[in-house]
Amino acid sequence: MPGRFWIVPPAALLALLFFYPLALIVQQAFTDDSGMANVAEFARVLHARFFLNALINTITISVAATAGCLVVGLVLGLILAFVPFPGSGVIARLIDTFIALPTFLVTLAFTFLYGSAGMLNAGLMEVFSLQAPPVNFLYSTWGVVLAEVTVYSPFVLRPLLAAFSLVDRGQIEAASVLGARPFRIVRQVILPAAVPALIAGGSLCLLLTVNEFGIVLFIGAKGVITLPLLIYSKAIQESAYQVACIIAVINIALSLGLFGLYRFAAGRLGA
């Protein structure tokens, strides 16, 4: 067997199990019940209230969560790399293991922490003798955003720490001996070195938050429906497979666009 045909078995497996189903989703989205090509249903879904709401929710949550991940990742990374403390290595590895844990864990924890009967509300009601729980952000867009920041900021932190480890410590010490304030060193020496890692981590966060399902499902708020949740509820709860396929086509197109952005950014990074 000539060497270049060795790629055929794994490629064929992926084609059968992934690309063929993907093509069928697209086909279902654009054919009517009689099997004819038809874009009427596609156009109808595109203009439907439930779809537009989910699209706006998905993008809002994704952008806000990514911004949060960048800020949190940058702050944690700067401290871990440049103001280390005893045990900071262990802490960095602990944060890294969050990547391997299921995302819905954080949502479940948040219901105990910030839910209407959670610790924060119980504490506030006790201290200020309130009748109703004062903190209600959990069952809104912001609850999802906070949960996603927790889950996905390690994805920013990881490339950032790798980039920081390459920053010349002598340069920082020279700058600080010459009297540069920490903020100035961060802005002029450290940040320029971190930009590629921030772009790569940020675009990965955009992709992962657009696709996030578990967090939104577990919060279960009526008003917070995203595209993946809409696909699930149309297909499984309403058995409306064509509508589910149409939404899936748009969701996949959005994800692939963001994937392209990530590959481009990671390519510039040299990863």
């Binding site: 060795w6 490629a11 299921p102 105990f112 578990g214 590959r263």
Partner: protein, 265 residues
């Protein structure tokens, strides 16, 4: 060291512990606490019990652990074989085609898991390829979702491999199959173990595609955690989540020890 003054450093570490505590430590601690909570009406639970653990152990837990472990093992093993095969085969393609195919092997990681599940339902619900309603469709869904990660890990390992060993083996007259089995694969082992561990962990926590395709009788840990909390049984859900976290961490730590020993020797 960026900040030299003692009060400055203290302030920065305070910020760090606040962020770390609120975002990462509190969620883990509160899951553990609630899985052991007897009654919880105030700020802290009024008492502790292991009842939730015994409840889930008598209920769905064992079946769910078994379903998750079997699915994770088979899907990760298949992903490891196909990912390693693909990464090795791409090395002997010409550069342009290798780059294009490399992107194709990565794409499953970019597609939302719910859509992967939907695609499998649409494609495999009719004969001759009837997988819908079988255990196999869950394995296939997990395999598709993790295959990109194994492929990526093994490719990264291959890229870091020094070509010297393989060249020496060839120049000493080792045939390609012998070289692959006795030189390349042993050198790759740490990456293979790491790839297997990561894909196993991802499979253990997979929810989106699984809720789309799982047949009755093959309920994985995340799906049973969801049905528990959806019913309002949040404490049992927390206990089962702790089981999931423990199983995942034991797996990862165990594999890390294996890799650690490999790289040291």
């Amino acid at each position: 060291m960026l900040v030299w003054s003692r009060p400055g450093r203290m302030l920065i570490w305070l910020v760090f512990s606040l962020l770390f505590g609120v975002l990462f430590l509190a969620p883990l601690a509160v899951i553990l606490l609630s899985s052991l909570a007897d009654q919880w009406n105030g700020v802290l639970p009024s008492g502790f019990t292991v009842e939730h653990y015994t409840d889930v152990a008598q209920g769905a837990a064992w079946k769910a652990v078994k379903a998750s472990l079997v699915t994770g093992f088979l899907a990760s093993a298949l992903a490891l074989v196909s990912g390693t095969w693909a990464a090795l085969a791409l090395r002997i393609q010409d550069a342009t085609l290798a780059r294009l195919l490399g992107v194709l092997f990565f794409i499953p990681s970019a597609v939302p898991s719910v859509s992967v599940g939907l695609g499998l339902l649409v494609a495999f619900s009719h004969p001759p390829l009837l997988l819908n309603g079988t255990i196999a469709i869950v394995m296939v869904a997990h395999f598709v979702l993790i295959s990109a990660f194994t492929f990526g890990n093994v490719s990264a390992g291959l890229a870091r491999l020094s070509p010297d060993f393989e060249q020496v083996a060839s120049s000493l007259g080792a045939r390609p199959a012998y070289r692959l089995w006795h030189v390349t694969l042993p050198l790759l082992t740490p990456y293979l173990v790491a790839a297997f561990g990561l894909s196993f962990a991802l499979s253990m926590g997979e929810l989106g595609a699984t809720v789309m395709v799982y047949p009755p009788g093959w309920v994985t840990l995340p799906v049973s955690i969801f049905s528990l909390t959806d019913r309002g049984d949040v404490f049992a859900g927390a206990a089962l989540t702790m089981v999931l976290v423990a199983v995942t961490l034991i797996l990862l730590l165990g594999l890390e020890r294996v890799t650690g020993r490999q790289t040291r020797s």
